[in-house]
Symmetry: C2
Subunit: 493 residues, 2 copies
C-alpha cells in the first residue's frame, strides 16, 4: 500500500483493535483451512491423526490461488454487515474459487441450513470436503446451488454488470463485487466499468468493486497487476472511481488496512446516498473502488519441488499435485493445513469456536442467506395490462398499415406506468429502443443517465428505467443481474 | 481544444500555412460532397442543373453522421503520408461511414484503378453515387470490396485489435485507427486498449488511435463524450497513452489543430522508435492517441423540420429523409451540396482539380492502394517442417502414452524457428498455451510482453510471438488483423 495515499484516504477511520483483528484473522484462517480441506481431503478433516495417503482424494481438482483473497473479502464484508446492520450481496467474479465461497457459507451456517446433511460439525466438515469436485458432489466453481450466489464461476466477464443489475432499484442494498485481474482483461468486464454512469444514487443501491490483483491468471502475469500504480489509479479515476488501496502479504497488516478501506468505502457510499437523497443529486458521484493486492495462493506452500509457488501463477489450481504418491508433498500439505492452527478454530466436535464467528452476521444478513441472491423469494407477478387495450382494429383485411413493435411500445409504457412505484421492470438494449419503434415507452419513463447532459437531449432521466449502452455484454449482464434478484425486464436489440 | 494543453503538447509543431490549409479544406469539402452525393443522388452529380426529385434515389440508406469526421481523418492522413513518405494503413472503426471511405478512395484514384468502370470523372461520379446502397451496387458500410479496407463496418468492437494485428511484425508501418465513441462503449473495444502492452517498438509497427467523439450513437449521447475532459484524459492515460486533443466546429481551426496533432503524434512515434531501436527499449513507451471532437453530421443541415440535426444524434443516418416528396427538403439538400462549392473542386468534366489532390499520396502509398490492406499480395507460404520429424513411434498398439497437443507444440516450435527472421507466424490465445500442452513452442520464441516483469516470470519476451491475454475478443481481433495483412497464425483456446 502506498502509505501516503492511504493516510489521505481513510477519512479518519483508524481501523479495528487487536482483539477484533484477531477474530477476523481466526475467521480467515478457518475459511482458508476449509478451502484447502475441500481441495485435498476425503477423511481426517480435523487432522486428529497424522495425514495419510488414504485421506487424500484420488483426483485433485480445484482452484486454490484466488481462494485466500476471496476468504479475506468475505471475512471483512461480514464485519461491516454486522457492524452497520446493512443488507448486502456479493458477486464473486473469480468464481473458480468455489472452495472459498463454500467454506464461508459453511462457517456462517447458511450451508447447513440449505443442505441439512452437511452439518456444521466434524461429520459435516468431512462431507463438505469430500463432496467438493467429486463424483456425485458439488462443482468446483461457484454454481447456482452455492448459497448466496447469483453468478456462475468460470465464464469470466460479467461479474461487475451482474453486480450493477442486482443493485438497480434496490436503494438500500450494497452489492460488493470481486473482480479478478484475469477477468479484468476481458471485454465484457472492461466495458462494464462505465456502468456507474447509469447508477442512480437515489433509487438504486451501491456497487463496491473490489479489484483483486493477485498478479496472475493461469500461467501469465495479468496486465493490470503489472501497470505502475499511478497508471492503474488513472485508469480507475477515468472509470469514475475513487481509489482505495490495500496491499500486503502480512495478514495482520492487511486485516487492518482492509478494515479501514471497507469502513472508508462504506462511509463514502453513505455520504453519497445522503447527499443525493436529502439535498438532491448534483454531480455524478465518484464511487469508491478497493484495489486489493495480495499474493496469489497466499499462505499456501511457498515453494514446491524447488520452484516458487505462493505469489506466482503456479498456485492457480492445486499447488501440491502429488500428495498421494509423494511423502514430501504429503508432509508439506499437512504442515500447510496445520499452519492455520485448526485446534484454535474448531472445537473437538468440529464446530467453529465463538471467536471465529464473532463477526459473522445473523439470519438473512448472512451473504449465503440473503434473499437478494435468491430472486424467486422476492419476485412478484408483473402487472401486464389487458392486451385488448392495445389491440389494433382491423376493419377490412389488408386495408391499413401498423407497426407491431410500435404497438408493443404502448404496452411497455403501460407496464412502466404500472411499476412506477414498485420499480421492478426495466427495458435494456444497445441503443435500439427507438430503432425498434418502442419509443412510446418514453411517455412513462426515461433513459437512465447520470453523465453530462445538453439542452438538446431527449428522454435522459436520472431515475429512468430504460437502459441503453452499445455494449451488448453490459446490457446482458445488467438484465441478468436484475432478473436473478427477483425483477422483470426485456432485452430489445 | 484546451488551449493550454495544446500548447504544451505540440512539440514545436506550428501547423500548416494558409495555402496548405486551403488545399486540405478543398480535399475535405470534395470528400464531403461525394459522401452526400452517394447517399442521395442518382443523377445530376455535378449539380449542373437545379436539383429535381428524379435525381434522388427512391430509397435513402446510408450514414452521414460519422462521414465528415472520417473525411477529415483521411485528408490529414494523406498529408502526413505524403509529407513524410511513410507506409500507412487505416482501420475505419465507424465503418458504417462507407460514403466517406469510398469518396476518398475515388478522389485518390484507387477506386477507379480497382473498378475501371467507375472513372474519375463526371460519368464515374454518377456511377459512384448511384451504386451506393443500391440494388446491384455496393454496401453502405466499408466492406471487403472497399479499397484499402481490412475491417468490415457495422460489427463494432474490433477496430483497435485489428489495427494492432496489422501492426505486429511490420516495423515500418503506421496503422491509424479511427475509434468511434459508440464503438468505444463495446466490450471488445474497451478491452483492446491494453494491446499497447503487447506492441514491440522494435519489431512492430505503430498504432495511432484516433478517438472520434462526435458525441452520439444512434439515438443517445455516448458515455465517453459526456465525461469531463480531465476524466477522459485520465482514462486514456490509464490505458497507457499520451493524449492529443483536437476540438472544434470551425473547419479552418480544426484543420490547423489536426495537422499539428498529426505532426506531433508522428514525431512522437518516430522518437519512440528511434529510442527503442538505437538505444534499446527502456520503459514501455506512452504512445500517442488523438481525441477528435467534432460535431456529428458536421457541415450538414443545422435544422430540419424545426429540430436541430447537425451536432445531434438526428444526423446519424439520412438527415433529410423526405427529399423526393418535400420541396423544402429538396431545397435544403441542394443548398447543402452547393455549400461545398463543387465548381471549385471538380472541373467541367468532373475531375478533381489539382488543389484538391495537392496532398494526396501516390501509388501504393495511397490508403486505398496499400498492399498491407490486401494481404494476398504479401502472403508467403508458411515453412512447415516435414511432419515425419514429429511422428510418434508406435512399436505395439496400445503400449504407450502420448499427448497429441504436446507433439503439436514441437511442430509449432519448428515453425517459429523457421520464421524467426521472416516473423510472419504468431500463436494467439487466452492464456491456454501451456494448458493446451503447446509449451514446447517456448523453446523457439517467448510471450510478447511490454509491461512490468519480475524475476520469477518465465518466457516473457519483448520480441516474443506467442500472445496471451484473457480477452478472447482481443485475441480474435489481433489474429484477424494479422492474417488479413498477409501473415499466418493459430488461435489456441
Amino acid at each position: 500500500m502506498s502509505q501516503a495515499e492511504h493516510e489521505v484516504r481513510t477519512d479518519g477511520n483508524r481501523g479495528p483493535g487487536d482483539a477484533e483483528v484477531a477474530a477476523l484473522d481466526a475467521h480467515w484462517r478457518a475459511a482458508n483451512y476449509l478451502a484447502v480441506g475441500q481441495i485435498y481431503l476425503m477423511g481426517n478433516p480435523l487432522l486428529t491423526e497424522p495425514l495419510r495417503p488414504e485421506h487424500i482424494k484420488p483426483r485433485l481438482l480445484g482452484h486454490w490461488g484466488t481462494s485466500p483473497g476471496l476468504n479475506l473479502v468475505y471475512t471483512h464484508l461480514n464485519r461491516v454487515i454486522k457492524q452497520r446492520g446493512i443488507e448486502a450481496l456479493c458477486v464473486w467474479g473469480p468464481g473458480h474459487g468455489g472452495p472459498a465461497v463454500l467454506a464461508n457459507s459453511w462457517l456462517e451456517g447458511s450451508y447447513s441450513e440449505t443442505y441439512p446433511d452437511v452439518t456444521r460439525d466434524a461429520d459435516g466438515m468431512e462431507r463438505l470436503f469430500r463432496q467438493f469436485s467429486f463424483p456425485g458432489g458439488v462443482p468446483s466453481h461457484v454454481a447456482p446451488e452455492t448459497p448466496g450466489s447469483i453468478h456462475e464461476g468460470g465464464e469470466l466477464g460479467y461479474s461487475l454488470s451482474h453486480a450493477y443489475g442486482a443493485a438497480f432499484d434496490r436503494p438500500e442494498l450494497l452489492v460488493a463485487c470481486v473482480v479478478g485481474d484475469g477477468e479484468a482483461e476481458t471485454g465484457p468486464l472492461a466495458a462494464s466499468w462505465h456502468s456507474n454512469k447509469f447508477l442512480d444514487p437515489v433509487r438504486d443501491g451501491a456497487v463496491l468493486p473490489i479489484l483483486h490483483l493477485n498478479g496472475y491468471k493461469i500461467a501469465n502475469p495479468t496486465v493490470l497487476a503489472r501497470l505502475p500504480e499511478h497508471e492503474l489509479d488513472r485508469l480507475l479515476h477515468g472509470y469514475g472511481h475513487h481509489v482505495l488501496h490495500v496491499t500486503g502479504d502480512d495478514p495482520m497488516t492487511v486485516h487492518r488496512a482492509m478494515a479501514v478501506a471497507m469502513d472508508t468505502a462504506l462511509d463514502h457510499i453513505a455520504a453519497i446516498r445522503r447527499t443525493a437523497r436529502e439535498e438532491g443529486i448534483a454531480d455524478r458521484p465518484s464511487w469508491p473502488v478497493i484495489v486489493l493486492r495480495t499474493p496469489k495462493g497466499w499462505t499456501g506452500p511457498g515453494e514446491v519441488d524447488g520452484l516458487p509457488v505462493e505469489g506466482t501463477w503456479r498456485s492457480h489450481q492445486v499447488p501440491l499435485s502429488g500428495v498421494r504418491d509423494s511423502p514430501d508433498h504429503l508432509r508439506q500439505l499437512e504442515a500447510w493445513l496445520r499452519s492455520y492452527r485448526p485446534e484454535e478454530l474448531f472445537d473437538e466436535r468440529g464446530r467453529p469456536r465463538p471467536d471465529v464467528l464473532a463477526w459473522v452476521p445473523e439470519g438473512v444478513r448472512r451473504l449465503g442467506s440473503t434473499p437478494y441472491a435468491n430472486g424467486g423469494l422476492l419476485l412478484r407477478d408483473l402487472p401486464v395490462p389487458p392486451l385488448e387495450r392495445h389491440a389494433v382494429a382491423v376493419d377490412r383485411p389488408g386495408a391499413g398499415r401498423h407497426e407491431p413493435t410500435a404497438v408493443l411500445g404502448g404496452l411497455l409504457a403501460d407496464v412502466m406506468e404500472a411499476t412506477s412505484d414498485r420499480r421492478d421492470f426495466r427495458l435494456v438494449g444497445p441503443d435500439e429502443t427507438a430503432s425498434n419503434r418502442l419509443q412510446a415507452v418514453y411517455g412513462a419513463t426515461g433513459k437512465a443517465w447520470q453523465a453530462g447532459t445538453l439542452p438538446t437531449d431527449e428522454h435522459l432521466d436520472r431515475h429512468g428505467r430504460v437502459m441503453e449502452i452499445l455494449s451488448e455484454h453490459t446490457c446482458q449482464g445488467w438484465l441478468e443481474g436484475y432478473l436473478l434478484t427477483g425483477r422483470h425486464g426485456l432485452f430489445s436489440c
